[in-house]
């Protein structure tokens, strides 16, 4: 499953950005257009983080809905499925402006005592 590749990349980013500290939460934005299953991501992350500084960390997934800007009438609208059409004027010429995110946004780490 490609979610395992994504989970591996999330873990690599989290460990690299946490300076060796213990990680308790990793937050990610996942656009709905990415076809990434949240449960598969969580499962993959849990499996891969065992034995690392992210062991036991919670993966918090924020789904990001699809939005588009119509090139013909300029309307920005939420999109709910294919075919992607402007809800206002029906045009097919819609630029996707949200829904394709795949990003680690923040981490919660535990600072050692006295640091």
């Amino acid at each position: 499953m490609h979610e395992l590749s994504l989970a591996s990349a999330i873990l690599e980013i989290a460990i690299r950005r946490s300076d060796g500290r213990s990680i308790s939460v990793v937050r990610v934005d996942v656009g709905v257009l990415r076809q990434a299953s949240p449960s598969a991501l969580e499962f993959g992350f849990e499996a891969l983080s065992a034995g690392t500084t992210a062991h036991g960390a919670r993966l918090e997934i924020r789904p990001v809905g699809a939005r588009g800007r119509c090139e013909e009438c300029g309307a920005c609208s939420a999109l709910f499925g294919f075919p992607i059409l402007c809800p206002r004027c029906g045009s097919q010429r819609v630029d996707i402006i949200a829904g394709e995110e795949l990003m680690v946004t923040s981490l919660d780490v535990e600072d050692p005592d006295g640091a």
């Binding site: 795949l102 680690v104 780490v109």
Partner: protein, 233 residues
């Protein structure tokens, strides 16, 4: 122990995209046009490649990067066309079994004489879901559907069909034996990707091959002008 929050804002696919870009630089330096072919298992990608390597022999120098979970069966089928063929098996890679990624392609590049390859085909792992998200550094993405697979596949696998620069519809020779509505398939392709051209072909009989070959020659000629772009982060 105190807890603190670190802002990260790093794209999950940034590492893959950076490697894809490094591949792209190497392809550009060598003058190689790269076509990433994706489809479900069994749509006929390898047979299309056999026909293509035969038809373009003497007109273009070509090579193939084969991606499969296991075996080198596809690479073996293509070796008789006297082009460089490198097989990548993803089956031993932890976490990478179902698709090719930019790192796998990068590790295979030293095995290809890129300076002597004008057109490199990457035959991706048979899979209509996962490969779509992983840029390899290609110029063009070609999705191969077939008349034996059902008209609804573009609607069921929109991300794959959305990323296509061209949709090939293979096995046209089977149409007399199937209840297949090719117009419905094309409407479904257009619903998820209104911009992509489509070519109906039969790798078995050769029907439609001229249009496919013309598209490839145009891709090689126009290599500098359009690079495959992934979805924007």
């Amino acid at each position: 122990m105190a807890r603190s929050t670190t802002v990260v804002m790093e794209g999950i696919l940034d590492a893959n995209d950076a490697l894809a870009e490094a591949n792209r630089v190497q392809f550009d330096r060598a003058g190689t046009c790269v076509v990433n072919m994706m489809s479900s298992p069994g749509s006929g990608k390898t047979q299309i490649l056999e026909r293509t390597l035969e038809a373009l022999a003497g007109r273009l120098t070509m090579g193939v990067l084969e991606g499969d979970v296991q075996t080198s069966l596809d690479a073996s089928r293509l070796e008789r066309f006297n082009v460089p063929v490198v097989q990548i098996n993803t089956g031993t890679e932890f976490g990478g079994g179902c698709h090719l990624d930019a790192n796998m392609v990068r590790t295979a590049l030293p095995m290809l004489p890129l300076d002597r390859i004008e057109l490199l085909f990457v035959e991706n792992v048979g899979n209509l879901v996962c490969p779509a998200g992983f840029l390899l550094g290609e110029d063009r993405r070609v999705i191969v559907a077939s008349v034996a697979e059902g008209e609804d596949k573009p609607l069921k696998y929109p991300q794959m069909f959305r990323c296509a620069d061209l949709v090939l519809i293979n096995k046209a020779d089977l149409m007399p034996y199937l209840d297949f509505d090719v117009d419905l398939l094309l409407r479904n392709v257009d619903a998820v990707n209104p911009a992509a051209p489509h070519i109906l072909l039969s790798a078995k009989t050769g029907a439609g091959m001229d249009a496919w070959l013309a598209w490839l020659l145009q891709a090689v000629d126009g290599r500098g002008s359009a690079r495959a772009e992934g979805p924007e982060e």
